[in-house]
Symmetry: C2
Subunit: 140 residues, 2 copies
C-alpha cells in the first residue's frame, strides 16, 4: 500500500518508477475500470461462476441467478476484452459457444471466491450488525 | 464451492444445513446485497482506503480520488450498517468524525487489497489483452 501513501505529492514519473505503476485509487488509472468490471454488480458472480470449468451462456445464466441476458452479455464481453475470459466457438451445428477463464481470470477468480467465502461465513455477524444498526436508528 | 455444485436441486432445508448456509449466487440470499456493498463502484476503494487506519471524511474523500460527497456518504453508511466500518464522533469543537474498520471490515479489506494488488500487478497483461481484442474487432 505504499503507493497510496506517496500518491498525492508524486509526479507521474515517480509513480511509474515504483513496483506498482498502476493505482486503482487514482481516478484516471486504467486499472480502475478493470477493477469495476471485476467487482461490478455481475462481474464477481460471473468470474466465480466460471471457476468450476467451461460453461455455455445459458448454463452460466442459470448459475448467476437473476442476471439478465443483456447484462450477462455485457459482463462477459468486458471480461473477455480485459483478458479474464476466453470465448470459444465449436463448429458444430448449431455452433457451441463456451466461456472459460484464462489463467489470469482463474487466479483472479480464486481471490474473488476467497472474498465470497469470507463474506458467506461471516453473514451471521453482518445480519446482527444490520439489525443492531436499524434498531438504534429507530431509537433516534 | 460445494454449495454451488449442489445448489440447483436442493431444498432450502438442505442448503441451510451445510457449513455455508449463505449463497451469493442465489438471487434472494441476504449475502448478495452485502457483496454489492463490498464490491460496488466505491465499496472496494473505501474499504481499502480505510485499511491504513482511522480517517476523517474529507481525507478519505481525497484518498478515493473521484468519489462525490454523496456517494462516499452512501457507501460509508451501507458499510457501517453491515458492520464493516465504525463511525466515531469525538466531542470536541467542532466535532471530530472518524471512520475506521471493524475487525470484520479489516479482514475483508485485506482480501480486497489482495485482489487490488493482483490486478495492479497484472495490468500490463490486461492492457495487452484489451489492445489485441480491439485490433481483432477492427479486422471484422
Amino acid at each position: 500500500m505504499t503507493h497510496m501513501d506517496t500518491k498525492a505529492g508524486d509526479t507521474a514519473e515517480e509513480q511509474h518508477s515504483g513496483a506498482l505503476p498502476f493505482d486503482v485509487f487514482a481516478r484516471d488509472c486504467p486499472s480502475r475500470p478493470v477493477l469495476e468490471h471485476l467487482t461490478g454488480r455481475w462481474g464477481v458472480l460471473v468470474l466465480a461462476g466460471l471457476y468450476q470449468g467451461p460453461v455455455r451462456f445459458n448454463a452460466l445464466r442459470r448459475r448467476v441467478d437473476g442476471v439478465s441476458e443483456k447484462m450477462l452479455s455485457q459482463t462477459l464481453h468486458a471480461l473477455e476484452r480485459d483478458g479474464f475470459v476466453h470465448r470459444t466457438v465449436q463448429a458444430v451445428m448449431p455452433p457451441r459457444v463456451e466461456y472459460r477463464l484464462t489463467d489470469l481470470g482463474r487466479s483472479t477468480a480464486a481471490k474473488l471466491l476467497d472474498l465470497i467465502g469470507h463474506l458467506e461465513a461471516h453473514m451471521p455477524a453482518v445480519l446482527a450488525a444490520q439489525q443492531q444498526h436499524d434498531q438504534s436508528d429507530d431509537g433516534n
